[in-house]
Symmetry: C2
């Protein structure tokens, strides 16, 4: 079970990036996303609307303090950072945990996050995207099945097609 | 060799997302990114600055017409879309090609893109992020080595560490 903690959300600036983080967490089989930073009900609602339309049990919530979330979490706490230990070297140890909290920063990550987490993990040691890093984390930790998550009770389902778009609607 | 074609870049709205797309392409071993849409020299320069600082040969350029790029490309043309055939089913065939052009849309993708490409590929059939989809595409097509790309001639290199940040500077 993987929960995502998104740090330092800024309502205007991170509108799209935080939504991308949430969508990735959901699409790849995450259980829940917790946003810290500026409260943003519109963002929570947009995530919930996706779950309502496309199915599954993914949850989104806001927490006022990342420290409280980190301190209370029972399981492995993993911070994604380009400065950390490569994912290839840490994935095996992380997979052993039943519950994982994966922490995704925005522009500036408070220094205590490095201390409060059990693993600081780099998805490549190059500058790139926290959205991509999160996706690759799910892929490495959950294996290829991350891409085959099932989403029961949705109103919409895509029938894969070679050309064009084919969406089935359920009542 | 994977080249990325980013469609419909909008200078203001896609500033960050297009940069993320470029960073992912570079970090995971892509050769080049071609942007279509609104010309944006600042974006090209930001990508080139990353390559200058962090090494490697990654290129960024602007092209006025995606149709011309698609028509002239020699190799497999792959469009990432949530409506396509799952990546797990197409990766094997795509891997056989020496040169791959992977097409990443923004908000609205012109319908002829579905026709001009050889493969329409879905990275999950769920709504998520083109940035994440691109990262997972590199991971599936290039295998785990996508995460171990080397970047010679950079000025900066990270020494992976369990806590904190360790960056070495080269002249």
């Amino acid at each position: 079970m993987i929960t995502v903690l998104r740090l330092g959300h800024r309502k205007d600036r991170d509108k799209r990036a935080s939504m991308h983080v949430a969508l990735v967490a959901r699409a790849l089989g995450g259980k829940k996303i917790i946003f810290c930073g500026e409260p943003d009900n519109e963002l929570l609602q947009r995530v919930q609307t996706v779950t309502y339309k496309w199915g599954g049990d993914f949850q989104a919530e806001f927490a006022p303090s990342y420290r409280t979330v980190l301190k209370n979490f029972k399981g492995a706490k993993v911070h994604l950072t380009m400065y950390g230990i490569p994912l290839e070297k840490t994935a095996k140890a992380i997979r052993k945990h039943e519950n994982v909290l994966v922490v995704v920063g925005s522009e500036k990550v408070p220094p205590d996050v490095y201390q409060l987490c059990d693993y600081n993990v780099a998805v490549t040691n190059q500058p790139h995207s926290e959205i991509a890093a999160l996706a690759l984390f799910f892929r490495e930790v959950n294996g290829p099945k991350a891409l085959q998550t099932r989403f029961p009770r949705g109103q919409l389902r895509i029938i894969p097609s070679e050309r064009g778009k084919n969406v089935t609607k359920y009542k």
